[in-house]
Symmetry: C2
Subunit: 318 residues, 2 copies
């Protein structure tokens, strides 16, 4: 198993990425082969005490780097020697089985769409955000900002993609899917939610539990919550804002510590042909370690293959 | 000044409404004349120690009551002797200068639209929610759920309505208006936000400060934040949900106590011809007192008149 890791992505790169790699290796008995993509001299500078590179690692030198604020398509086109561009080349060629980056999210999505392509039948691949639930588990909200405008069909696809992720990676046998809405009953909501409800209800591949309101986002009502990316992004950033306030007010509470989203590592790009994981800009050592672990799980469970099968089924049902 | 108050609205009616009236009267040197609409015997039962009704109050008996869950239009049509229907009759006839209820929000909106009508030029009157800001002040988010689908023009009207409210009722001379969005720069966002930005920017009657992201909702970036009612309602309920979690976790913090929305009394229906205030279902004594105070301020400042003037100006500019 070969996992490509962008060493230059995130606010604390490459130091925290290097630390994450070493933590991963020290905690794993049978580690994956890691392809560390980035500026060779910068990466080597951070090797502990001038230690040699562990045998499970190989540095792939990247002479360019895509910054967080750059325009995704333009940057990918102009910086073909950037760590993100190289990562997708490795993934597309089969030299890597997964690609991880905490860099420019837009570039990660565009790179995935252009290189490994969406899975057949999926109109809009999606990136979500984890929801720290009161019961100690995580939920997944899809979409978290990549798809600001959506059609009912997109939300239905998010529901199935999220369900397959929860089943195969989180091992939840029958994940509950909720539709974010502004009322409890069917028929409530804006035009999009009203049109999406019946589609979710009749979809036999998911376990639709109905509408989920803003007050239930952190409850166990649903494992997967679907909405368009505008509202999803507002929710994600509002949760981050609440966490900032909690910290500024010196409130120490284990539940709200789980609102620090960097700790989860990264979220998968769901709906593309190979495993791609996007990390938070504030990713630290543990985030990188967790992202490598998530990549392993997605590769082992063959989530992209499971998704391809389900969407073939979905299209056959139509 | 005559203020009509629905004594039957809210989860703790009529007891808390009666208590609110007495608190208002005891704290006000020159009180308004209060028209208490509701079941006469129920109201009288709650008068303290069988005290007589204060001279500033008059009970208007209502033999019917619209429940929280009833369909607004249907209920108003069928229950013409309900406290909400009677309130709007008093308001429309001029016997009352303002009408307050903590009852069925939908019925309050429909009643306002049918009886006192939207102000000329306003396509969608709106109901907002207060935002407890970290700096100790309140912001106002419009719309909070009444208008789930909006056009750019609606959001622009919300911006002007909110600005006039902040100026004339909150005495903020030049209120800052922000557009809820998922990025900081112009051009970001969904189709609605992208189309709304330039309209807000060119509107000379408001002080547009640009995009406001989810993490800035409780900051002092803007006094008025505009969005469609779907996202607005999710924000409101998510804030209430956070408050519930804070309480369940026994976190005592004065800032988060301000997330208990009942304390603010009610929010105005902005864009209709006379003062109408809608209270939270969980309204208590103080909420009712505060709503009467808000009604006084709106009447004294002639907010509806100010709105009419501004929208005449707006239409002349077009």
């Amino acid at each position: 198993m070969n996992i490509a890791l962008d060493m230059m992505g995130g606010d604390f790169a490459p130091l925290e990425a290097v630390k994450g790699v070493f933590t991963y290796l020290s905690e794993t008995s049978n580690p994956a082969q890691l392809l560390l993509i980035g500026d060779k001299s910068q990466i080597e500078k951070h090797l502990e005490n001038g230690a040699e590179l562990p045998s499970a690692c190989k540095i792939i030198h990247a002479s360019q780097h895509i910054e967080m604020e750059e325009h995704p398509t333009k940057a990918l086109k102009e910086k073909q020697h950037s760590s993100i561009a190289l990562g997708f080349q490795l993934l597309a060629s089969g030299e890597a089985d997964a690609f991880i980056s905490a860099g420019n999210t837009g570039a990660m999505l565009v790179g995935a769409l252009l290189s490994i392509k969406p899975i057949e039948g999926i109109t809009r691949p999606t990136i979500g955000t984890y929801l720290p639930r009161e019961d100690g588990n995580l939920g997944l909200l899809l979409d978290a900002g990549i798809n600001a405008d959506c059609k009912p069909e997109n939300l239905c696809q998010f529901a199935l993609l999220g369900s397959l992720f929860a089943k195969h990676v989180w091992n939840i046998q029958i994940p509950k899917v909720g539709l974010l809405n502004i009322g409890e009953e069917e028929g409530k909501g804006n035009i999009l939610a009203q049109a999406t409800y019946p589609l979710l209800k009749e979809n036999k591949q998911i376990n639709f539990v109905g509408n989920v309101e803003g007050r239930d986002i952190f409850s166990d009502k649903a494992d997967i919550i679907v909405c368009e990316g505008f509202t999803g992004n507002v929710i994600l950033k509002m949760a981050e804002g609440i966490h900032d306030i909690i910290k500024r007010r010196n409130i120490n509470d284990p539940y709200f510590e789980r609102f620090e989203f960097g700790q989860y590592g990264g979220v998968p790009v769901l709906g593309v042909n190979k495993p791609v994981i996007v990390g938070h800009g504030i990713s630290r050592e543990d985030s990188f370690k967790n992202m490598i672990g998530l990549a392993e799980k997605i590769i082992e469970s063959d989530l992209p293959g499971k998704i391809r099968n389900s969407f073939r089924q979905e299209n056959a049902d139509d």
